[in-house]
Symmetry: C2
Subunit: 482 residues, 2 copies
């Protein structure tokens, strides 16, 4: 029998749960009396379908079946996981949980999405308190892995274990909160920042945008990969976490925030933190942690370049001020760059894909040289790649500088054949890439002739390269004898 989840309450959070289960192959039944629920959930599902599968380099299981029910009894039948995501009012949650328990089997997991209430609050007067746990997710539930899993003192370990197993199987990160507390862990941290942020706005120190910029151009990028304490462990350097806390400790007495109820930094608390930090991170030296942090920062900021958000937009602006050297051996230099760490594969060298990535950048740069640039593309014309041949001649390591020259082989109407040579900084030829480009009308998606301006600029290069000999390795098929 297929796995089935029942989602009670179909707002943004409930809808996110629907998507998370459904796209991981579970059947999902929804109960929500709101007539808008179906429309809202479909919007969340559309977002989820375009993003969640993109996290993986393999296909997710076939989507399950989604059913909306008009009564709770039908929705909960045979569900292995029942998730309550109704509005944040205790008596409402208690009432719904009671109804669910009257109708469902005792051995399904009954999770609540509550941000603030303790599981013992939800268990009060329940038919079967043992079944109820807090499973607090984060928006967007279909992408963010974190689920705070909070038991009360009466919750059996078997229920927790089953919950962890199911959440893990749908790609989530169950974080077992060992001691229940209002607002669990993450929302306590968020609430502290929120309160400080409100003060900054009220005191007219900063606007919402300035506060967001202070986060996303700075520590937000550190936190996305390591969180707070591992980041500070690195800041402590070789002297370690204990040293860092002793140094940072005095600030607790200073008016660095309006939130002034602070714990006393006793030796015992300092030791506790240092020991926990060792348990968490001591398998890596500070040097290794630094390089891991840097590789992650580079990877994430390169990802943000795509959308131009935050640090990514800034890097794009800065990059546009950088100049590429103009010419080498009478050929235009179309790429000059360092090989990033993230281009390295399991063989310890630049992956085959990134030779083409660099060559593709060379084609883009050559297109700019002939006026087939961003504004030309915006006007509805571009070049598409029809065929490409790459020879891999030497390994390239991360951190090396490479440059690419581009030679025009032939131009015939809408066809343009280019030959890129990739050089190491030593001058050694490390790869060649022969590529056939077709000029396209972006509206009809059919081939077309380039504009007069592009044709003219292109003919400058065609003439300049006409008397050069054909490059070694062009016109080859794969495996041809040298």
């Amino acid at each position: 029998m297929k796995n089935k989840a029942c989602i009670v309450g179909g707002g943004v959070i409930g809808g996110g749960w629907v998507a998370r289960f459904l796209l991981n192959g579970w059947d999902v039944s929804v109960y929500d009396p709101d007539p808008q629920a179906q429309r809202k959930i479909n919007q969340v599902l559309n977002n989820a379908r375009r993003s969640l599968p993109s996290l993986y380099d393999k296909a997710l299981p076939t989507e399950g079946e989604l059913l909306f029910h008009e009564n709770l009894a039908d929705a909960v039948i045979d569900a292995k996981w029942i998730q309550e995501s109704v509005p944040e009012r205790l008596e409402l949650k208690q009432r719904i949980i009671n109804e669910i328990q009257l109708l469902s089997k005792v051995d399904s997991v009954l999770g609540s999405s509550t941000s603030g209430f303790k599981p013992s609050d939800l268990q009060k007067n329940a038919l079967n308190p043992h079944q109820i746990i807090v499973a607090h997710p984060f928006n967007p539930v279909y992408l963010l892995p974190l689920v705070e899993l909070v038991p009360s003192v009466v919750s059996p370990i078997t229920v927790l274990d089953r919950a962890k197993e199911i959440l893990t199987s749908i790609g989530m990160k169950p974080l077992h909160i060992r001691k229940e507390i209002d607002a669990h862990i993450a929302d306590r941290l968020l609430e502290a920042v929120w309160r400080e942020g409100l003060w900054l706005i009220k005191d007219e120190i900063a606007t919402t945008e300035e506060i967001d910029d202070a986060i996303r151009f700075g520590f937000g990028l550190r936190w996305a990969q390591m969180g707070l304490f591992e980041t500070y462990r690195i800041a402590g350097g070789e002297a370690g976490m204990k040293h860092f806390i002793s140094q940072f400790g005095p600030c607790l007495e200073w008016p660095w925030t309006k939130l002034m109820d602070v714990p006393e930094l006793t030796d015992s608390l300092i030791n506790e933190i240092a020991e926990q930090s060792d348990a968490q991170s001591a398998h890596l030296s500070i040097r290794e942690l630094e390089q891991l942090r840097d590789d992650n920062l580079v990877g994430m900021m390169r990802a943000l370049k795509k959308s131009g958000s935050g640090a990514g937009g800034l890097i794009n602006s800065h990059e546009s001020t950088l100049r590429t050297p103009v010419e080498d051996k009478q050929l235009p230099i179309t790429v000059s760059r360092q090989v990033p760490q993230s281009w390295t594969d399991y063989n310890g060298h630049m992956n085959e894909t990134n030779y083409l990535e660099a060559s593709s950048q060379a084609t883009d740069a050559f297109m700019e040289l002939i006026g087939a640039d961003a504004s030309y593309i915006a006007s509805g014309y571009s070049y598409f790649t029809a065929e490409t041949h790459i020879r891999y001649l030497a390994e390239v390591k991360a951190g090396e500088n490479i440059s690419i020259t581009t030679q025009v082989l032939t131009v015939e109407g809408k066809k343009m054949k280019l030959f890129h040579r990739i050089f190491a900084s030593s001058g050694d030829l490390v790869a060649t890439c022969e590529t056939l480009q077709l000029h396209m009308d972006l509206n009809t998606r059919c081939t077309s002739l380039p504009s007069e301006a592009v044709t003219e600029k292109l003919s400058f290069y065609t003439k300049a390269h006409a008397n050069m000999s054909l490059p070694e390795g062009c016109g080859r098929y794969v495996g041809q004898s040298p």
Copy 2:
């Protein structure tokens, strides 16, 4: 004349400034009486050289010249930017600033890296208060763009403007803090979280690792791209920021943190926040913000897959539980996946590079099928790509599902020629990739014969594919007539 920066104090922060200026082509002089300063700065520089240039798809300017000076007078000569990064003691900073001002020109920018002191504190009794501003960076200074730029009431706008221009030119994000305050903005937010975190540990609710996990598997990923308020704007949905605050407002009265000195949420404060949020984000609808957020989350989490940190490690684990369908048309299916948003280029379709990325994953999967898997590679053997030919037959859009079959064309000793066919979910052939793989000894980096086990498994496929006809399009050179 070349740009020159002078860095006074060469710890982690001073060293980061050195790297940031140097790798952006500035000459840098350093003054730090610590005999270890040179060694420490070189360590920071090594980290910076392997990571900062990786952010860009163009080469950074040629590195400037780095000089260490034994006296301050030599260090400050002709410097356009002087940055003080000595330990966080006010009287020490004031004394050093005085010495600098006795020796240097008035028209250079004199920035202080102080985390906590206000510029007016530093300007007290200074020779030339107008020259001094706070320029507070974040570790690692060579990668994180944020610099809090804080003037006092006496700071002239010209000094600020020059500082902004220089910081922008070295790839940083100067955030002008309009009203000076202890600890500026970012460290106030950090301090609030730090205090709450200490309480969580002291009350034995969570360990350092659990707190870090609560951040990096959850809201840390949101903050790295959008910060706090834009994230909440999305959470408010169509009803907007004002609705969100009114909803979230009551929590301020609840014991969701131990930090209880909270501002009163008056109508005027709510309006102020909603208006600032409109000014910041109203150019995008909530739906557009959601998709931007999701694309960024996917991009960053895909980047973290490389190192296996945080959410990236979790995705790798989950991915390993996903199965690829086994066989199609008597050929093994080596890839079955969705095309992520980040594979789309300016032509609105999957970039040429990602056709090869998918084909490269197919080669990896075929290697696993013949036993040339991770443990085989760990034992010192692998396959390298020598030559590749790709035909682009149809466009592929983000969100489409593609699958790849792999046919063995020929195997001769250490050579293995494969032919990948990429299919859309419609069954249409969208590309082919012919690739010549060479078996390698990873220690000598020379070709070698595969192991007996690999040879045997490979011959199973060679025999199975021996009677198949040669695929259309194999053995082609670029531009060959059909």
